[in-house]
């Protein structure tokens, strides 16, 4: 497995065709291109309804050169299990199966099938790209929408509840590998995924994916937005390999760096415009507490 430290060292071969149906500035199109480079040609994709279904294009157009089976919303992890079972039955052992779902498809409707697949210790990579709402149906709240965010189903005052920590839920199944990534750190994503490619068992990726359309920011700030989430400490980059947790990349460096105030992140997107001051402070305190803990365990 080759890790890369410069974008120029990424594989040149593109598995995503130029031009797709994502909005301009979409974080998903960034990670799609990078991740497929890590997964390689011998991969079968399993995709439920989401922005990715649309990104792929409308029949008879396809945005990728990988075989892809579009499946129903609730079935992603079960379908990936089915592809994998068929490959085993046919002795096609080298082909990788990669399920690729949104946060709604993962944290809400698909969590049962995902939990089942984790418990059965299936052999595939599951990728959740977390744009923190149901974007394909027009920005409704999902299980991972953060508290205070405005969506079309949490209008006026924003979502009242905390978001689900899906990576932790999945990790509780004691699977071999769990990683969090961000669309703003493509090399971290590439390296983790290229490594996961060589492992067996179920491997889970949770990728923070800024969405200009759903979050309300200018499309040119996608990468900045994702970086802010990491630099404020609101989203952590880490790996859990065989139960061992370790911060990685930018988050690891954050252990001995000043974190950006969370307020900065909230103020540059319109979905948090009604977040009350006290709540911002509470979130800052909670983040500080969390990072103090991390400092103790990670140093």
């Amino acid at each position: 497995m080759n890790t890369v430290s410069k974008a120029i060292d990424l594989p040149i071969e593109e598995l995503v065709h130029p031009g797709n149906r994502a909005c301009s500035g979409c974080g998903l199109s960034l990670i799609y291109r990078t991740a497929l480079k890590a997964l390689g040609r011998d991969t079968i994709l399993v995709v439920p309804p989401s922005c990715l279904t649309v990104l792929q294009g409308l029949y008879p157009i396809a945005a990728t050169q990988l075989p892809c089976v579009n499946v129903t919303f609730a079935s992603t992890a079960a379908a990936a299990s089915g592809v994998q079972a068929a490959l085993r039955a046919q002795g096609r052992q080298n082909t990788l199966v990669a399920a690729w779902a949104g946060d709604g498809g993962t944290s809400d409707i698909g969590i049962q099938a995902l939990s089942g697949a984790c418990e059965r210790q299936e052999n595939f990579i599951y990728i959740c790209y977390d744009n923190e709402a149901y974007m394909n149906t027009g920005v409704q709240r999902s299980g991972t929408t953060p508290a205070g965010a405005l969506t079309t189903t949490t209008p006026l005052v924003g979502k009242a509840q905390q978001r689900k920590n899906v990576a932790r839920i999945v990790a509780a199944h004691d699977i071999p590998y769990v990683a969090t990534c961000s669309a703003s750190y493509p090399l971290d994503l590439y390296n983790k995924m290229a490594r996961a490619r060589t492992m067996t068992g179920i491997r889970y990726f949770h990728i923070h994916t800024p969405c200009p359309a759903g979050w309300g920011f200018d499309p040119r700030f996608t990468v900045k937005m994702g970086k802010l989430a990491v630099e404020t400490g609101l989203f952590e980059l880490y790996e859990i390999e065989n139960g061992r947790f370790s911060l990685t990349g930018a988050s690891k460096r954050l252990l001995d760096k000043e974190r950006t105030p969370v307020e900065k992140y909230f103020s540059v997107q319109s979905r948090f415009k009604v977040l009350p001051r006290e709540q911002v402070e509470r979130i800052q305190q909670e983040t500080d507490r969390r990072w103090n803990e991390l400092k103790q365990t990670q140093s």
């Binding site: 279904t53 294009g57 892809c68 499946v71 592809v83 049962q112």
Partner: protein, 400 residues
């Protein structure tokens, strides 16, 4: 080989003989012993298959859909609420044109709960685009399961093999098990298409538009409506495929011969009782007894329910004076679904028999031979008057 076993074991044996490669299932009474038997076959090394013990019926069919897309022969089985829980996937499997075979061990659906037999479960999935076959005996279960793979893989449409919960699934009856080499020969040349393959990538089940559009080469690609029209056309053509499969199966094993429906004493029958599943066996006794009293009756057991073999059935029925439809299902607010379909099928004929609908055995209510006898005998005496009471509930207990 002869054996005396349950209907569920007959089904499992058929699945094994067909060399199914991927099995996924979730327990529900009365289907459970079928999938238990399959897991036993796999665990004992008697059968080389991937057995995926999933966490729900929705996932069971999802596994089969994906496995079938990747080219594996896939099987699942369920009953009642398990089938309903699969509903989204049932549509998906047919729309994606996957040759999955599923046994539906018929059971009444909740609420209220019932574990006993009727046909409401598979009837509620009637319009999903699957082929529906109904077996009336253990022998038909094993034969139909094997034939189902050939049929499904020929037309690329999934097949439901339905049989009565408990009445067939749990009772022991003798049947003949075909030799493995005969089944191999029967299924030689038949396999699911390998659609998912990195060496020839395809994007399956994508978003389609309301109207056709050209692909990159300029060829016109179908839209949703054309794709659905293909399913309808292929499904209606399936009748011939079912007949051919049965003929070939008969040549090999000596069994079969009634691919679409089975007639009993119908040649000169003035009155015909028609139904799905094991009830036809009970009705044979009724017919024998009426015949001994010189009432010319017969029974038709419908084996192929979808595609509906109207063209073949009509000539059987329109010579009769009356047709009595016994059903273990209801389209609530109207009448039995089979009854509606037979009425519609006979509409274009010049000679239309009197039709009457009896609803029987819902939720496992005992269907007595005496009740069947009375219903059929009364109908033979005065079909017109009886008809007016359609649909007539038979075996309903008086309250208070």
């Amino acid at each position: 080989m002869h054996c005396i076993e349950t209907g569920n074991t007959a089904a499992a044996t058929g699945v094994k003989l067909a060399r199914t490669q991927v099995i996924a299932a979730y327990p529900i009474t009365p289907q459970t012993p079928l999938t238990e038997k399959l897991s036993e076959f796999v665990a004992a090394g008697e059968m080389k298959a991937e057995y995926i013990p999933v966490e729900s019926e929705h996932s069971a069919l999802s596994v089969c859909i994906a496995a079938s897309s990747a080219g594996a022969r896939a099987f699942t089985a369920t009953s009642a609420n398990g089938l309903l829980y699969m509903h989204e996937q049932i549509h998906w499997a047919a729309g994606a044109r996957l040759p999955i075979v599923m046994c539906v061990v018929n059971r009444g659906v909740g609420a209220p709960w019932s574990v006993w037999n009727d046909h409401q479960d598979s009837m509620s999935q009637r319009d999903t685009g699957w082929i529906h076959l109904h077996a009336a005996s253990h022998q038909q279960i094993i034969d139909t399961v094997i034939q189902a793979f050939r049929i499904a893989e020929t037309v690329r449409i999934p097949v439901m093999v339905c049989y009565d919960g408990y009445l067939l699934s749990h009772t022991y009856m003798p049947y003949e098990v075909p030799d493995q080499d005969k089944v191999d020969r029967f299924l030689a040349g038949s396999a699911p298409a390998r659609l998912l393959d990195p060496s020839s990538p395809m994007n399956l089940n994508t978003v389609t538009l309301p109207n056709t559009r050209p692909d990159v080469r300029g060829d016109i690609a179908p839209a949703y409506m054309e794709i659905r029209h293909c399913l309808q056309q292929d499904l209606t053509r399936t009748t011939a495929v079912v007949e051919q499969a049965d003929r070939d199966y008969r040549d090999l094993t000596g069994r079969g011969g009634h691919p679409l429906y089975e007639c009993y004493r119908c040649e000169d029958a003035e009155f015909i009782a028609i139904c799905l599943g094991s009830l036809s066996r009970q009705l044979r006794g009724v017919v024998d007894s009426l015949r001994s009293a010189s009432v010319k009756t017969g029974v038709i057991a419908l084996r192929l329910y979808r595609p509906f073999p109207a063209e073949q059935l009509v000539p059987e029925l329109d010579k009769a004076r009356g047709v009595l439809v016994f059903e273990k299902a209801l389209s609530y607010g109207y009448e039995g679904p089979l009854f509606s379909e037979l009425k519609a099928a006979l509409y274009h004929g010049s000679r239309r028999p009197v039709l009457h609908n009896c609803i029987v055995g819902l939720g496992g209510r005992t269907i007595t031979t005496a009740d069947l006898h009375t219903a059929l005998a009364d109908f033979c005496v005065d079909p017109e008057t009886v008809r007016k009471a359609s649909p007539q509930w038979i075996g309903l207990a008086p309250l208070k």
